[in-house]
Every structure is written in structure tokens, then in C-alpha cells.
Symmetry: C2
Subunit: 475 residues, 2 copies
């Protein structure tokens, strides 16, 4: 289908403009999480993009607030909504020195931000209390998880710390385990139950893991990245009970908590469930919950802002984490962005209208997820579980044995080969499932649907032609 | 001298407005690096501040560029200088997805920023070449140093990795060593020679260190934080030669490289000297040089942006550091700020005028340093070496033995007690030398002179009254 010279590269979080892509470069560049999606683009699509709203657009209120904090002369700029200017003024007042250029007002961050986050958590958890000093800010989810893993890291070989890790898991987790010298103890999620967590799998993984390392914690992604699964309350209770019995720490990535769109699906935080299970649990189980600006709701990946709430940790651990944080106070701007995230403009605020683009994005996401899932399930050799949240579909590939053989002779995983060929032949760039911790012959691809519908449609057509050609070639 | 209700708190990097300070809080709050300086303020000073320029003001060009990148509608705002808008446009074009909201274009950061930094280094080092892929970006000096220390961390007790560390050292270094499980191997700087590095001290420290740990690297701060000393070329050659002979890695913090104001003083980078010493050295000595937005030139502490240049490192180490970086791509805005730092507006650019506030700041800094040093040297029991760079003076305190005794009975260091009492009695907040790694009875205080002259003058008067009263009390 030719070698298109220009392509639309969809960046996690934000829509790019059309970029010239050198086909020679495209051929060798492996898919990365930074370009989860790239497709060649025609003039016709370009035209349609101009009239159809993008689903991942700038969140005007946030951009305006941060710009005004960065350049306070904008506080007098009447073209900015009044509530934006008032909020910028308030946030600047909370910054050390009244400026984003100073270190945070305290080593651990801006107190107002801690307070707003704790209040947000209380509202979310139907009143379960949250304490400011249990909130630790950081520059993004990965940085803060790494800090925690670094702290848990211990031993070598048989005595090395192990982390129970779902398969599939967020694609940065295997790399983080690697650089923290931790052993990954995989537990399989149940694809045939929409990627639900299964307690027997978890139990069996722990048993197996204890034979070759020292598992100390369970990592959980809920809503699941890249599965889009939303855990139900009973599962969460089971997992908490299991962690309590086995003395394991719970590390829960809840970055997509505000982007659940599956019908009758509801997000429950591990924290809320833990506290509603009674004192026996709520005073004992060690829990760290992670949230970040890079979730599907905000999609602000480039700012690198996140926080964790730390429950029942040994005071020494909390002190260590706080000291770690204090050695390099968190950047100021992402903290301000977190404040906007947990305190969005309300109905009636002048900036509410632009901010609700985010709500419209949710609707588009939900429709995209539904449409793509149906489409993929109609392809031979492909099956896809519906996503209930987040931005990914994670379809299963039933690849021809000859192709798997070929990949072996080339020394790459078959899903990587699939993605490379797709990129080469159609200019479409998706992520291979092996990046999500899958190292058996259970092949998947990762497809972000955080794109305008017109792009999604085109992408699916490219994927279909490639996929059908592949099946013809390896019958 | 009463208990003033309002105080001017000077934040590292930026000037604050007057803040209400509750005296009760002030009494118990220990000085921290986040508030290196706080003084009570009268209406008269407030008036004078309005007419005298602050020396630590916003760098308009930088603020404007970042605001326009954050909120691209400003690209059309005619009130912003043309070169600012052009630069913002160019930087946005270099961002993944043309937006600061996306992850960096590559896992290791924005290629344009790497390129600009490498070119800056080449210009600085009189043509010694610098390679883009030796530049690793990070969110601030401390984060990136911690990453390196974490990598070097090894062993326990006798086999624990040691770091040769100057005394005094930047105040975050002891804490970083602590959280990285490294042993500090102190080497004394020569106060009577303006805090010069002395090779015999270094050699002796290494010998002593080898008896109780495994020293693997030398940490150097040049220009010195908090001493303001600028190393001469001969010293740098000696240190490099010593590192080569002993097989030690050089970790060189050069954050204040662009703020040398001492007469006849010139900054030489370790990199330049290393390469001018010939291949025997330039192909062997392992060197990491650190630079950051938080230096005296930019003073942009809240953005948290920095980079390191990595020379002669084992490829595996470089890969590890790059992977570490890639697990959490660096925040986008600080990268853009680094680009402005290494490529400031030139003469003729519309924004040059505002940007040269930085140059004016240097003049004020130099005058402040000179004035404060003279003043302090006139006080009995105090002696101060002149600062040649940076933002600190670090005077020696000759404290009365009775006061040292009193501190002992209270269980605090005498310099901490000095600072606490100064804060309590005069509302002036300075940093105690023990935070800079000094744990012997060699007492110092750390005084930032990055303030408007009127404030400095007032501060010195407060300090003098307190100091003289103290000497009267403990004759």
C-alpha cells in the first residue's frame, strides 16, 4: 500500500499535528509507548480532522491557569476567564515566594496541594478520611513507584525481593523492576473474564514465587492498564484479605480512576474498600495508592505530576519516602496542575465550558472503545475484550505457526514482528504485548483509542488490510 | 527587638512578597534551605523596595516563552516580543505532538534540547567536542545525582561504597548519601585559602576512607556551594591526575558555572581541562558534570530541570542511566527552560533587554557579596572569606565556649542554636554550617546574598545586633 511520506503520530496525552515521517526511519523504529499510535494520513482525512473535534484536545482551563502562574502579567489579561485568573492568583499565593520559580513552600511540596488532594480523596471515598501527611507528591507515576521499589529492593537470587505483577501490566513496570533489582512474580489476569483478577492465580503465583525469591508486595492496576478492566468490589475485598493473610504490601496504580465508561461499572478505590472492611484490616494492611496527571482524564503526560497516598506504612518508611522527596522538592507546575485536576472548575464558573471538553472526551473514548472492539472481533485470528476504562484495547492475536517460526529465526517476539511489519507496510504503529510483561506465546497488541473517530476508523482499515494479508501469506 | 508580625522570606531563586509570619511558628521552625533567609520588615523598607529594583526578579523572556508553550494561544499575542513567540513556536515544534502535554518526543528527552546543550558546552569549552548522546536530562540536580549514587551504591560496612565529599558541601549532598546508602568520606577545603581544594587533604581522606569503606568517586562543587570558591586550572589538573591514578570517578557539580564575578576569576570546566590534558586522560578518566536551572544565573528552582554530561562511562552504565531516564521521561517544561538557558536571547532580539536583568543581577550579586563580606569581617568572633561566585557567604563563627556548652546540654549543634536564637530574637533565618556536612566544632553560618541591597543592609544590621548581644551574654 505504498510508503506514505507523512503520518499522524498520536502521542499519549495529546494529539499531534501531521508530521513528516521518513519511511526509512519508520522502518527501523520500534513501537514505543511514546508513539502508541501512528498512521499515514491523506489529504481527505486532514480535511475531515479540521471539522471534526479532536477528542484529545488541550484542556483550556488548565493551560490558562499554568500559563498565568508562569507569567503573572497574564493575571491582568481580561481575555482569560475570571475564575482562571482567580485560581492562578490563589495558587501563586500558595507557592514559596509567590512564584513558580522558587522551591516548593515546604520540602515535601505545596501544603495547599496536599490539602486539596486529601479533600478530593475523601469526596471520592464517600467520606473515608484522608490525611494530608499521607500524601506524597512526585514527578509522575513511574518516578514515585520507582522510589517505592528502590526502598523494597533487597537481597539477591533466592532472597531477592519479589513483586507480584499482573500479566499484562503497564508497560513501564517490567523496566522499573529491572532497574530496581526486583524479581517479577507474574500472576495471569483472566482474559476470558474481561481480564479480571483471579485469586487462585494470585495464590498460585505467590507459592511459585516463594520458591525462587521473597515476594513482599502485590502490584495492581485498576482500572487495568492496558486491559481497561474495572475491578468489582468483591475482588478488591478478596485481594485485601489475601494481602492481610500473607503479609503483603498493596501497591495500587489507580491512574485511570476518573475515566470509567463501561456500563454499570464503578470505580472503587482500594483505600475505601479497605476502610469499609473494618479496623481489623484498615489498621493493618499496608497500602500505597498512585494517581497521576497522565491518566486518561487529564492526559497531561509531559508535565510529569503524580502523588501517592500511603496507608499503614511503618513511620520509618514514610520518613524515608519524605526525605527522598525532600532531597529534591517536586516541581511546582505539576503540583499546580494536580490541584486543578482534583478541583476542576464547577458548573457556573466561566471556564467550566472549556474544561468540560474532558467530559466530551470521555464520551468519544467510550464510543471509540466500543467501535474498535466490535471491529477487531470481526477479524479472523483476533479477539478482543471490551474496555471499561482508560485508553487501550488489548486484542489477542492468534498468529499462524509459520509466522511464529519466522519470528524465532529472526530472534524477535512474534508480536514485535507483527508490529514492525504493520509499521513498515501500512505506516501504522502499535505496541506489542510483550512490552506488557507477556513472555509466553500468548500474543497481543496494544491499541490506544484516544484519537478522533475519523482517525480510529482509518487506523482500523489499515490494520485490517495488513492483518488479512498476513493471514493469506501464512495460511 | 520585639516579635515582628510580618517578615520578608527570601526563597532560593525568587523574591517573595511580604508574608505574615506567626512568631510562635517562627520560633520552632528550624532554618531550611527553602528559606535561606528571612528578615522582619518595616514599612520604610517596604517603601524602598518599591523603588529599588529587586535583584532576583522574574526572567521575563523565559517566563513568556514557557507561558506561550503552555498556552499556545499566546503565540498570537502581539504584546509578547516577536523572538519570544518565534522561539516558543520552534520549541513546541520540537515537542512530541507539538504540545507540552505529551511525553517527550523520545524517551530520553527532546532531541533539540540535547543538541542545544551540546553546542553550548562546545562554545563554553573552546571547541572541545560534546556529543548529544552524552547528555542526560533530568528533573533537577539532586534527582540526577541521586540516580548516579544509587547506581554506585554497593556493599555494607567495610565494603560500602564511599564518596569523597568536600567539607563544606552543598547541603543536599549529606542527605542524598544517606538515602543512597553511601558512606561520606569527608575532605576538608582550606578556609584560609578561600576554601580552595587541597590535594594533600584529598589524598589523606582517601587513605583514611579506605580503612572503613570503598571510596569510588570524588564529589566536587565548582564554583563551590556554599563557599563561592572558583577552582583554578592547576587544581583541576591535579584533581584529574589524582582521579586517574587512583581510579576514581569524578562527579562535578558545576551549577554556578555562569555566575562567576570574582576579580580575575575564570570558570574552567573539568571536561575542558580533562580534554586539554591529552588522550592519556581524556580517554580514561570517568567524569560526570552536572548543571541545572537552579544555579545563580537562572535561579529557576521550582521548575526542577537539569542535565549531566557523561564522559568515559562504561556503556552499560550509560545504558542504565538512560533506561532509568526512559522509565519516566523528563518533564517537558524544564527541558524547554534549559534550552533558553543555554541559548539566551542575543543582542538585537526584542527580548534581550528584559533578559539582561540577569546580567544586572550579577552586578548586584557581586556588590552584595563584597559588602556583606566586609561587614561580617568587622564583627568580633566572625571571619568571612570573600565569595567569587554563586549566592552564598559562609562565615566562620568563633563562638564563646559557654554557648557551645549550652548547646551540648540542649542536645543541638552550636551553629543550629545560633541560627535558632537569631530567628527567635531578630526574625532573621540563616542556615547552620552543620547542614553542609560540618560535624566538628568548626562552626559556620550560610548566608544567601541573592537579595536587593536594601534588604541585605537591613539583614546585616539585625545579624550584628544579635551577634553583639550574644557575645555580651557569653563574654
Amino acid at each position: 500500500s505504498g510508503s506514505p511520506q507523512s503520518a499522524l503520530i498520536i502521542h499519549a496525552g495529546h494529539m499531534t499535528s501531521v508530521q513528516e515521517v521518513n519511511p526509512a526511519v519508520r522502518r527501523i523504529r520500534a513501537p514505543t509507548r511514546l508513539q502508541d499510535l501512528a498512521i499515514p494520513i491523506t489529504d481527505e482525512i486532514l480535511q475531515r480532522l479540521k471539522t471534526e473535534p479532536l477528542c484529545a484536545c488541550h484542556h483550556c482551563a488548565l493551560s490558562q491557569v499554568l500559563a498565568a502562574c508562569m507569567y503573572p502579567k497574564l493575571l491582568e489579561e481580561k481575555s482569560l476567564p475570571l475564575d482562571v485568573r482567580q485560581r492562578a492568583q490563589k495558587l501563586l499565593g500558595a507557592c514559596g515566594g509567590g512564584s513558580v520559580g522558587s522551591y516548593s513552600a515546604t520540602p515535601t511540596g505545596i501544603p495547599l496541594v496536599h490539602k486539596s488532594i486529601a479533600e478530593f480523596i475523601e469526596r471520592r471515598d464517600c467520606g473515608v478520611s484522608s490525611h494530608q501527611d499521607h500524601i506524597i507528591l512526585s514527578s509522575g507515576f513511574e518516578k514515585i513507584l520507582w522510589m517505592v521499589l528502590h526502598l523494597m529492593s533487597n537481597g539477591e537470587g533466592q532472597t531477592q525481593t519479589g513483586l507480584l505483577t499482573p500479566v499484562p501490566c503497564p508497560q513501564t513496570v517490567p523496566m522499573l523492576l529491572d532497574v530496581s533489582w526486583l524479581t517479577m512474580v507474574p500472576y495471569q489476569l483472566k482474559e476470558d473474564r474481561g481480564w479480571a483478577l483471579d485469586l487462585d492465580e494470585l495464590r498460585q503465583a505467590l507459592e511459585t514465587g516463594r520458591r525462587h525469591c521473597e515476594p513482599r508486595a502485590i502490584f495492581i492496576s485498576n482500572p487495568g492498564n492496558p486491559t481497561g478492566h474495572v475491578q468489582d468490589r468483591e475482588t478488591i475485598e478478596e485481594v485485601i484479605n489475601f494481602a492481610a493473610t500473607e503479609g503483603l504490601v498493596l501497591l495500587v496504580e489507580e491512574v485511570d480512576q476518573e475515566s470509567v465508561f463501561g456500563q454499570d461499572k464503578e470505580f472503587f478505590s482500594y483505600k475505601q474498600v479497605l476502610f469499609e472492611m473494618g479496623q481489623k484490616y484498615s489498621e493493618m494492611v499496608e497500602l500505597i495508592s498512585f494517581n497521576a496527571l497522565s491518566g486518561a482524564k487529564m492526559g497531561e503526560c509531559g508535565l510529569r505530576g503524580g502523588y501517592m497516598e500511603v496507608i499503614n506504612m511503618d513511620p520509618a518508611v514514610k520518613t524515608y519516602l519524605r526525605n527522598m522527596q525532600a532531597t529534591s522538592t517536586p516541581p511546582v507546575l505539576p503540583q499546580l496542575a494536580l490541584e486543578v485536576m482534583v478541583n476542576p472548575p464547577s458548573l457556573g464558573d466561566p471556564s467550566y465550558e472549556t474544561y468540560t471538553n474532558i467530559v466530551r472526551t470521555q464520551t468519544t473514548l467510550s464510543q471509540n472503545a466500543h467501535r474498535a472492539c466490535e471491529f477487531l472481533n470481526e477479524l479472523p485470528g483476533m479477539s478482543c475484550q471490551p474496555a471499561m476504562a482508560g485508553t487501550f484495547l488489548y486484542p489477542h492475536l492468534n498468529l499462524p505457526p509459520q509466522m511464529i517460526e519466522k519470528a524465532k529465526t529472526l530472534g524477535v517476539e512474534a508480536d514485535v514482528l507483527y508490529c514492525q511489519k504493520l509499521l513498515e507496510e501500512e505506516g501504522v504503529c502499535l505496541g506489542p504485548g510483550c512490552e506488557n510483561g507477556q513472555d509466553d506465546q500468548n500474543y497481543h497488541i496494544r491499541l490506544s483509542f484516544l484519537v478522533p473517530p475519523v482517525i480510529l476508523e482509518d487506523l482500523l482499515l489499515h490494520l485490517r488490510s495488513f492483518h488479512l494479508r498476513l493471514l493469506e501469506k501464512f495460511p
